[in-house]
């Protein structure tokens, strides 16, 4: 059985919970994507951009010092070396080619950490399309560098001051814009969530990650035992996991943002700390109160600070094919520092959650082949890290 089914459902999850105004556009997109995705012309064109523009394949790097620390064989899939600094470009290149072929003149997107916003602004410059990115004011504040990057690339960044002023609210505003301008505008969703066909489409475009890992391991005659990736909406994770799902022996861990800790209620762990519901076009695990209102998420990582998750993850969580667990803000910062010093790699604070998980399963990974998806680079997070370091130093002084 292939998922999603022809109505966009992953078991009970997914679907198309969306205002009727958007239904014709969604159905048109689905038809168009179905037609084009297996065409040789489209695949060749995308492959060419991924290679010559994005710089793929990204390396699979054997992290020797990290491996030694855990008596394990740890490989980092270096999505941080992808053009624009994260895996997000894999998806925006695919969707932009689609939008161009559909004749769309304007692209809108939501962004949290700004990585998807930058990747969208980049492809819009590349293909000469008008671009508007919606971003919560809280995220604008903590990811200033990415706002500047989007602006120099020619995108209009529209601040969203509603609700928690983060990714969820940016997505609400993008959907409102799309309802208004649906005839001319293409909505470029950045994660494997939202209404069908987005979860499927984003997964397909991101699956290049897992496919490359398979090839790269084959060249050195290896096969993975364990895969680890961080989960916000879950696009980098599903991109790594999807090509391996058929190998039952491969264990997969999706690491959600534990924020201040699950028990505090201040986190962004929709699967570990939420329950199924409907938001942004799909049925999936959500953080919500007993009246079905969506709760504010919290994570130090803007890219994980979202109260939902892609529907395919909800599906595999129930089936227990993928194990979902959490890492706190504090643990993520520790892992960030560890990777900087041991490997000379500054990871995104999002990806640091995946690195941090090594410590949680240190007994399990001994002598195993472990792949971590290093989904992005951490230059954008320097201010956040500086703040957390000075906070700690401040406490030391006080003590």
């Amino acid at each position: 059985m292939k998922y999603p089914d022809n109505k966009g459902h992953f078991g009970v999850y997914g679907g198309r919970y969306i205002s009727e105004t958007l239904m014709p556009a969604i159905l048109e997109l689905e038809e168009f994507y179905k037609k084009i995705k297996n065409s040789k012309e489209f695949k060749d064109e995308l492959r060419s951009y991924l290679k010559n523009y994005a710089g793929r394949p990204t390396p699979l790097y054997y992290a020797a010092r990290l491996s030694k620390l855990y008596s394990s064989n740890i490989y980092l899939k270096r999505e941080d070396l992808n053009h624009t600094g994260s895996h997000k470009l894999n998806n925006t290149l695919g969707q932009a080619l689609l939008a161009v072929k559909m004749g769309k003149k304007r692209i809108i997107a939501e962004t949290g950490a700004g990585q998807h916003g930058v990747a969208t602004a980049t492809v819009c410059a590349l293909f000469n399309i008008e671009c508007e990115v919606f971003m919560g004011i809280k995220d604008i504040e903590r990811q200033k560098q990415n706002v500047l990057r989007m602006e120099v690339l020619g995108a209009k960044v529209t601040p969203v001051n509603a609700g928690s002023s983060t990714l969820k609210d940016a997505m609400n505003e993008a959907i409102r814009d799309w309802i208004t301008n649906v005839r001319t505008t293409y909505y470029m969703i950045g994660t494997a969530a939202g209404m069908h066909p987005y979860p499927e489409m984003v997964r397909d475009f991101q699956s290049v990650i897992g496919k490359e890992v398979l090839k790269e391991l084959k060249q050195i005659d290896k096969f993975p035992d364990i895969l680890i990736a961080c989960i916000g909406g879950g696009s980098n994770a599903i991109g790594l996991f999807y090509p391996f799902l058929k190998y039952k022996e491969v264990k997969m861990y999706g690491v959600e943002a534990g924020g201040f800790g699950l028990e505090t209620g201040r986190h962004a762990a929709s699967i570990s700390g939420g329950k199924p519901g409907v938001l942004h076009g799909n049925k999936t695990y959500l953080l919500q109160d007993e009246d079905g209102r969506i709760k504010e998420a919290h994570s130090i990582a803007a890219g994980l600070d979202y109260p939902g998750v892609g529907p395919e993850h909800s599906f595999y969580a129930d089936k227990k094919r993928i194990i979902y667990d959490t890492i706190t803000d504090k643990e993520a910062i520790e892992a960030f520092r560890l990777l900087c010093r041991l490997e000379g790699i500054i990871p995104a604070i999002e990806s640091s959650h995946a690195v941090a998980y090594l410590d949680k399963i240190k007994n399990e990974i001994k002598d195993k082949t472990v792949i971590i998806n290093l989904s992005g680079r951490g230059d954008k997070d320097m201010e956040t890290i500086a703040a957390s370091i000075s906070e700690r130093n401040g406490k030391t002084v006080l003590q």
């Binding site: 109505k7 679907g15 198309r16 919970y17 969306i18 205002s19 009727e20 105004t21 958007l22 239904m23 014709p24 556009a25 509603a162 609700g163 969820k168 609210d169 609400n172 959907i175 409102r176 309802i179 208004t180 301008n181 649906v182 005839r183 199924p276 519901g277 409907v278 938001l279 942004h280 076009g281 049925k283 959500l286 919500q288 007993e290 009246d291 079905g292 209102r293 969506i294």
Partner: protein
Amino acid sequence: MVNNINKIDELFANYKKAGKTVFIPFISIGDPDMETSFNIAKALISNGADMIELGYPFSDPMADGKVIQKSYERALKNRVTMADAFNFVARLKEISETPIIFFTYYNPIFAHNTSEFADGASAAGIDGVLVVDLPPEESCELKQFIDKKNIDQIFLLAPTSNMSRIKLITSYAKGFVYYVSVTGVTGARKSLPAEMRSKVEEIRNIKDIPVGIGFGISSPEQTEEIKNYADAIIIGSKIIQFIENNLNDKKNIIKSISEFSCSIKSSLM
């Protein structure tokens, strides 16, 4: 007990015979507070409302413009629960037979439990349910329960709806079809698209079902024109604005909404 004739169907049948257009104002339950919103509903009923659309506040109203977003935010500060909403409707039904449409997004219904929602809605006296993010493709989960209770599920059609969408939706629709006048979110607009009339005719050519028009309507001048081809007129944001503009003067909220409601009603005469 299940009534055999749905009150919405009954009202449209009567108004059609009389050649009249139905006026449906929209308000949010709990805005600016529970008691005032109840008094607004009462005032609307005594000042011309033929049916009332009650919004159950949601944290992420993606199809709504600023005015209704803020209305929901005000209501959510008072933590309106589903039990409160059912109680609101039941109290209203004690004093009036005016049909009630319950308007919301799907998550609050799903979180409450869809089957229990249908039981509670029926017991309270809700006549129709409109869930803005529930197109026919995803509607069965709710439909199976509310059908049994003889509650109409109201569906939307939009300027973007093509022939196949109109066919699909009119085949699911009960009560009436809610035609969204503009491609956009809710909110009062000074001018409305000219294509409205031809679109309504297109819908009627496919199925003989009442068509209500909403989104953007804000003045008696507009309703005077629209009544010539619409079976119902829905006005929300314009009414909510009277609340927003008079937050410190609750008496004036009731007064201004009553006057506006009368002016719309007379434009439809």
